[in-house]
Amino acid sequence: MAELTRSEVAYVAKLARLTLSDEELDLFTVQLGKILIHAQDMSALDLSELLPTAHPFGLVNVLRADEVRPSLDRDVVLAEAPDAHEGRFAVPRILGEAP
């Protein structure tokens, strides 16, 4: 498998919504590269006959009756939000001005 590059690390940081400094990019490229090299003990194996396990006991849907039950109070939840407005979470502008 090809070695991890600095530009790949920068791209992944963008996907993960993280801003990395030049020093962090250099450091992470080396550190993450070492971890991926360690993982090559797995890539050498032929596991084509095996099914993947995403969960130890297999996940099944758990259903309950479709009945309204008490839930957390909206004001209590919004009290922990960084910003709230008229019963909703408030965030900076998402859409630009109309052209």
């Binding site: 962090e24 992470f28 360690h38 993982a39 797995m42 396990t53 969960h55 130890p56 939000a81 960084p82």
Partner: protein
């Protein structure tokens, strides 16, 4: 420190008050917390009220529960209503959960008194508490050394005698490894035995809450209280809490126990010697010891360090400055999210989010994440074959005794190797316990690990109890 079992008995009998037990616990916290940095928050007011409520029940002639008046420390990644819960991260600094984790409800119903929240590696990512945003916890047995992690604060709380019990969470060894380094008993229960409702998610298919205690019996007592089906966790096993305390003295006569080469290889000589002595003690108690090799276990570390970060990168996407915790403003919503996450997460959390995002990204998914999930299957099959021949497995918990601060914190791969013996149990969803046995370098404790298939907790406690007695703690 008195055991939880005797405290609960005395409190229910009216021979001691829960309030006096709490006062003694808080006095030790006050004397040592500044030095050791075990608790991030101590809930004096709430704990005092809960202890008074226990005393009131006893005064009314009621049974106050199996943990009546027992102070307990809670790892700060479990939600308790109105109590600051940080995951040792700046991104949750100041957040107060609006609900209790199921384990908190069960503890309070059993008469236990949660005294506060303990330090951990940020979002439980680490093996030393050095990644905590609020400074590391010091090992009570040698403050120049780490307590292990990620549940280092909870292990240290018990080791320092602050509380007889504490709760931790174990994703790749985060209960067993600090238990070993602090000289206490730590159990990682079968996946699904303890509800994860209110446990802040790190890697959901691996995370499991479990007990810390000074004795095996106390550990079993605490697990009995917190285990059992919870409809609020869809991965919770659909069965009641197992009977454990009644079986702790069942012994190991007639059991077959596999001494696993891959669970000691690379460990320091003092650790290897302790495991061999433990095997001798189990044999003396009537078990048959079988030497085994399970080469698949060597792949655990690689699989874990792709699967856990992949799940974490998804779980930690929720910290975006919108609904709770830190917000750092930006010109638009994307800039706000990026500024918040950049300021809120520490280096190790960023590293794991990056690794997980990479492993899940287009072009690499099959090669890394997909292959790791198949290795997980390989490991489950290997354990199953081993358990066709033996009842339990034996090995070391950690490669060495507690290490010094800074010894591994600059090399992530070296730190990850601290978990090499504990990770396979999490990947397989099975159970394992670390029990102190013998001492090593500088007189520091060594943890011996006993592993079992899913739902083998009663057998694990019984085997650990044999080692506890053999090590001179009757």
């Amino acid at each position: 420190m008195t055991t939880a079992l005797s405290i609960a008995r005395d409190v229910n009998a009216g021979e001691r008050s829960a309030s006096s037990v709490l006062a003694a616990s808080l006095a030790i916290v006050a004397a040592r917390n500044e030095e050791l940095n075990v608790f991030l928050h101590v809930d004096h007011e709430g704990a005092t009220a809960m202890a008074a409520a226990v005393d009131e029940r006893v005064a009314q002639g009621l049974n106050a529960g199996p943990l009546a008046g027992v102070p307990i420390a809670i790892k700060d990644n479990m939600c308790q209503t109105g109590i600051p819960t940080t995951c040792s991260s700046r991104i949750l600094d100041g957040w107060r959960p609006p609900y209790n984790a199921t384990v908190i409800d069960r503890l309070i119903a059993a008469g236990a008194v949660p005294v506060g929240k303990t330090n951990l590696d940020e979002f439980a990512m680490g093996s030393s508490t050095e990644t905590s945003a609020f400074g590391p916890t010091r090992n009570p047995l040698d403050p120049t050394r780490v307590p292990g992690g990620s549940s280092g604060g909870s292990a240290a709380a018990v080791a320092a005698g602050m509380t007889p019990l504490s709760l931790g969470s174990d994703t790749g060894g985060s209960i067993r490894q600090p238990a070993a380094l602090c000289g206490v008993v730590g159990m990682k229960p079968t996946y699904g035995l303890v509800s994860r409702y209110g446990l802040i998610a790190f890697a959901s298919s691996l995370d499991q809450i479990g007990p810390f205690a000074a004795t095996v019996t106390d550990s079993a007592l605490l697990l009995e209280v917190i285990a059992g089906h919870d409809p609020r966790d869809t991965t919770s096993l659909p069965e009641p809490s197992p009977v454990l305390v009644a079986h702790v003295n069942d012994g190991v006569a007639g059991k077959r126990i596999g001494l696993v080469r891959e669970l000691v290889e690379g460990a320091d000589e003092d650790v290897v010697n302790a495991v061999n002595s433990a095997a001798e003690a189990l044999r003396a108690a009537g078990a048959t010891i079988v030497e085994l090799s399970i080469p698949e276990l060597r792949l655990g570390l690689s699989a874990y360090y792709l699967i856990a970060p992949a799940e974490a990168s998804s779980n930690l996407a929720r910290y975006d400055g919108v609904r709770f915790g830190l917000r750092v403003n930006g010109d638009d919503v994307t800039a706000m999210m990026e500024a918040t996450r950049t300021a809120g997460f520490g280096a190790e959390v960023k590293r794991r989010i990056m690794l997980g995002t990479y492993a899940l990204s287009a072009g690499y998914f099959d090669a890394y994440y997909g292959q790791a999930l198949k290795v997980r299957t390989l490991m489950i099959d290997a354990f199953r074959r081993a358990y066709d021949h033996v009842d339990l497995l034996l090995g070391a918990t950690t490669p060495s005794v507690a290490f010094a601060f800074g010894a591994k914190s600059h090399d992530p791969m070296a730190m990850y190797l601290s978990d090499v013996f504990t990770i396979p149990t999490n990947l397989a969803g099975e159970a394992a316990i670390s029990v102190p046995f013998a001492t090593g370098e500088a007189g520091l404790p060594i943890g011996v690990q006993i592993l079992g298939p899913g739902r083998s907790e009663a057998q694990l406690f019984a085997a650990a109890r044999v080692l506890e007695i053999a090590d001179g703690r009757p």
